[in-house]
Symmetry: none
Subunit: 223 residues, 4 copies
């Protein structure tokens, strides 16, 4: 106590808490909140289940701590996209950064998708604390930007969600990709390819769309 200036909060005091969070993140991502078990999480940290309660008051609190720790930096990063100048080069770079960050902690994407599927109180909280603020600001940036003028105003949320689905989908569906494509989607090679591909999609949907704007806009313009 004399030599080590521990923080006041239990979460930061010991590496044990961190190890618990790591294990919990893994299990929650794999099995969802309901599917993950305190027993398994404890076993992953080679701890008695009862010991988890010395660090977190319960399963729900542990879950929230995982979300907090994992999502904050991701969302901060996304939020920073606001300041982009929407030049193709910037978009490329920012797409790249985001994918790399997600690739570092691939469990988080699955975690969010689990929540999105399940609905319920956890999702409500996640939406309130993280998703809604993020999306509303991203939307605002979209709207201010001249870049996306090709899209109708009421299509911008859909475009935003599409990027959400595309990005999270890739990570979340990793187990499926392994089955269907018979390749490890987290391999350096696969990530590289996906990153290139995503940049291309971004260009086609955001950058080039602007260029095409004047041509054959007969489809949605009629609505």
């Amino acid at each position: 106590m004399a030599t080590e200036p521990k923080s006041r909060h239990a979460e930061a005091s010991a590496p044990t808490s961190e190890r618990i969070l790591d294990a919990a993140e893994l299990h929650f991502a794999a099995d969802g909140f309901a599917g993950a078990s305190m027993r398994d999480i404890a076993a992953s940290v080679e701890l008695n289940p009862a010991s988890l309660y010395n660090h977190f008051p319960g399963k729900q609190a542990l879950y929230e701590a995982v979300l907090e720790r994992g999502l904050r930096p991701i969302f901060l990063l996304l939020d920073a996209l606001r300041t982009t100048d929407w030049s193709p080069e910037s978009l490329d770079e920012e797409t790249n950064t985001l994918l790399e960050r997600l690739a570092q902690r691939p469990h988080l994407a699955r975690l969010i998708v689990h929540e999105a599927l399940a609905g319920g109180e956890n999702l409500r909280q996640l939406a309130r604390d993280w998703l809604r603020p993020l999306y509303s600001r991203a939307l605002a940036t979209f709207r201010e930007s001249a870049t996306t003028r090709e899209w109708e105003d009421d299509e911008l949320p859909l475009l935003l969600m599409s990027f959400h689905h595309l990005v999270l989908g890739y990570f979340a569906a990793a187990p499926m990709l392994r089955e269907v494509m018979e390749e490890d989607p987290y391999s350096h090679e696969a990530m590289e390819r996906q990153s290139r591909f995503m940049r291309k999609i971004v260009r086609l949907l955001v950058v080039e769309a602007r260029t095409d704007a004047g041509r054959d806009e007969g489809t949605h313009g009629g609505g």
Copy 2:
């Protein structure tokens, strides 16, 4: 009385097995295989849990029956896309049909996404029986088509998966959309808008890409 030889037990219109499948589909979609409980499913049909076993030999079999009943028509529909002529009009129409069909049974998408997340034996089976045949044939069609010549050959699987993520994502994330966008994503209005949007995306990624093909092949030099 002469024409309806149904027992007095089944007051509801549909045969019991069908009603069980309906309830099971709902619960499996909401909570995943592990998260859904036979007890809850039975309660939804106002049946004793033991009665489920008169219709299906177990949870796993019930799950598979749900998949079979729900996915067969969808996948048959997707498979039929093979015969498309890739004209913008055909693509528009087929995109439309697919989305409408999925909208009729919005739980299925969530069910697949649950599987994709969870991995495990169920996914392996789903991949073997449904996904892999479908994707390999879709890919073949992609490849034969002159339409998508703009994409590198090794990008076609990614493009395919992107459509997977985009389409399933919309339905699967419905609970999240409700929270974040504060709108019912299954409303006629929202569906209409999403359908229009998806057609536009398809056009931008598949049809127009072809047109752009000759221009600045593979780089973002257009900016």
Copy 3:
């Protein structure tokens, strides 16, 4: 109804009842009353479990019918031993007959042993209806006989039970013998050997004992 003079009782009316009894005997012998299941018995006869109740009012009644049908002839046979003249030749022959009869229906022995182990109401009934009358008469015969005069009077019940254990034990322990001796105890060869052996034991314990009587009876005589 006109052509077939069916007996009034359901048990005798159809071969189905008989087939049910056969299957029930097998299952009760293998797993005991509690361990055997109506479902399995029905499956053995390729019948719906509900159909059993058209022939027997319940599990308990079916069990009793099995006992009745199976044990009566055996016990009649044993009872007939009363009239033996206790000559070595007669004993040999009667031992032989008994073992052959039991070998024909090896399940019965296991059935009795199951009851003997379990105790409870079924055993009480079995004892009242079958075992007690039989043993008391067998004992009386023993006592009248000059043959067994070597044994103290209070040892005769134990001698009787010993034969019970020896005979039933061989059949009841068949699964164990298979494991331990690695041989099929129901094979003709094994049965032959066992029969010869049992006759030898009977001779040693009953016939020869008489002869030895005068020699070194220091052990029990002192009690």
Copy 4:
């Protein structure tokens, strides 16, 4: 308080695991593995059924622990018989010791007989771990001994099994004996009588048989 660091929970004297084993032994002996229920065992120890799983990972493991604890000393004892000198006095004493030991834990015999009846995986294990080693060594001892020269070589296993049936039968059939003989077979008196009787049988079948050996070898020509 200083010398007894036990928690307040365990008011009863023995440690909980031991009390569970006691109760389990009783129930498994009475109803067999399949027939005994964790619920009942827990109730016997006044414990929540879930608590059993804090001490044993499952029903099967509990069963094996019961076997291990109960059978090891018995089988060690039997194994020690190997060193007997086959003198009448030694046999008397050893028979006595064995019966006394079994009488101390009369449930074990029923437990083994249950297994012998049921067959299945448990029996296979019991045979492999306990019975087969024991019997093969006992047989070897029999064979080396000059004592049993009267018996044919292929009769020795049967003789061995006969002792098995006689000894276990007495204990296993206790419920039946109570019904049929209307006496408690575990009473001191009954045990004393049975012990005397068993010694006599052993003498007649093993010791005296040797003496008779020269007389009328193998036939019942004595009549």
